[in-house]
């Protein structure tokens, strides 16, 4: 299972928001600074923080907190 505290902390750093502003409903639609550029940075930062490699399609499409949890869980399970 993905370390949600770490996930929120990386999200907070990359998106420049407070970690306590991030909840299950957070996504590109709810966080103003989360655009497609930040999405790239986010994927790179998460890959580094969790030592996983996020597949091509997920990298572009996992644009919400819930989806990121799913993707990271999947990668950590197969790692």
């Amino acid at each position: 299972m993905v370390d949600r505290v770490l996930l929120k902390s990386v999200l907070a750093s990359v998106l420049e928001v407070n970690a306590d502003q991030i909840d299950d409903e957070s996504s590109m639609d709810t966080i103003g600074s989360w655009d497609s550029l930040r999405q790239m940075n986010l994927v790179l930062a998460l890959e580094e923080a969790f030592a996983v490699s996020i597949p091509d399609d997920d990298a572009a499409n996992a644009t919400s907190y819930k989806l990121l949890v799913l993707v990271l869980d999947e990668q950590l399970a197969t790692a």
Binding site: S13, S33, D35, L37, A59
Partner: protein, 594 residues
Amino acid sequence: MVNHEAALAVLRRDDASMAEVMRALTELDRAELNLRRQRIGIAANITLDLLALYLRRHAYLAGVRLEVHTGSYDNLLDDVQTCSARGVDHLLVIPFFDNLQASWEARIEGLSEAARQAPMHDYLARLELGLISASHLGNVFLCGAHAWHAAAAFDGADACSEGLAEFNAALRETATRHANARFIDLADIVATLGRQQAFDARFYYRGKAPYRPAFMNELARRVGLATRGFGGAFHKVLVLDCDNTLWGGVIGEDGIAGLQLDPHSYPGNIFWTVQQQVCALERQGVLVCLCSKNDEADVEQALAGHEHMVLRGEHVVARRVNWNDKPGNLEALAAELNLGLESFVFVDDSAFEVEAVRTRLPMVRVFQVPQRLTDYPAMMREIAALFLAGGLNAPDASRTRQYRQLAAAASLRAGFASQQDYLRSLGLKVRLQRDATEQIGRIAELTNKSNQFNLTTRRLMPGDVARLMQAEGATVYSFAVSDRLAEHGLTGVLITEDEGDAVLVHTFLMSCRVIGRGVEFSVWKRVLDDARSRGKTVLRAAYVPSAKNAQVADFFDRLGLPLTAQGDDGSRHYQAEVAQVQLADSNWVEIIDG
């Protein structure tokens, strides 16, 4: 205090993660520190906003608070001119070879000589114009282009490798003709990191962002070196410890005969190599000093009498060989040479001495002889780079090479008297369509994707676009741009709605690919013509601010519409008489209706 020290410690760590670096930067941005400020601009034909992060990292490490202006995407001339008008201290120009034209490396193989040279020629022509406007900036760094793919031919004689070589030769030649311009070799960063660490294909093909963080970090580090710590340090003095720094062994214990300096055996060959490097720096004007806890007579004897010493007494401009503490000795050397300690680089093998100098004299650049001795010559190369960045003369050998390249580059260089001449030479064509139903999907997509050049940021679904196309009083203009170099595809959308005797601008947006060439002004002539033919007398438009569209806040002013009102939210409202309004000139753009 504690927080910002901790943040700096994070930035200093080679293995600090991207998220850690971001947090540390936020911390330092908040801290009230009395730091020098500098500004750097970036003009690139790719997306590399992460570079700002790493530039700021290396700037803070050099004691500088750096403001980074990342330009717009692939808009060289505008970016350079904007940075030049803002008076940034440094400007980075980054041409990504494979994106000179879409998938350039894949296309270049089958092209004729002329077709192959056209985009390079075009880039260099724009660069030349830009550099003229940037002649007052402190530093302009022209980043050498490198390949995205591995070379197709094992001997490097394929069209892509040759094109790259010509392009880089022309960039170097450009750098020699502009006093403030210098060439930075990016291919060496790719070679150092390897393609795996340097590139990310996912984000290159999705978002034109080819570089991974490791590449950005290394590029930023080298920019820091090339700018002498972002304009801070001008290194002149190299201070060396003796035992296990200049030679292997401890002279007071091993005696002069026991020193390791034999060029033909390990580890003597390491120290002998390092001494060669030190002497090379001395020949180029670096002031070499010694600072050692030893009996002076012992050191004197080694300098004068050891058969393998490369460094001799006459190379050493000042020395402190005694049993006093090193920070005090360094201060004494600075006083003797009448130079500031910030121009000093100090090398020692002892962690204790290194730490003592680092804490007591933080302005001195300190290096510790690496644990793994075989890395020592590489570290000396880093040190050499610090001094060379200060503008010591390039060796004559490289100068002759530059002259040879000059001839090769001449054919790639163009001369345009002005930006308009250049734009005219492009042969810009805009194919303007009205209510083109076959493009509904693509138009809707553009309204959702465009952020920066988007005056009203109204997001439309395909159904909305279709409805507007069918509506009696609305027109959906869509336009595709091409020039002699490339087809840019559907790049802009303009929607108007009639209201009484007025025409309202519902939407105006463009893809960032073609901004800055006058296309944005050219289509309005047709809008006015259409308005007239429908019997409308007034054109109304508004700029509605969003989080991302500040760059077009004054677009309608530049177009030539009179401002009539401004909202508290930053919105700007315009109204013009259709019969009288004078629009900005863009007569180098040809409009094709159809």
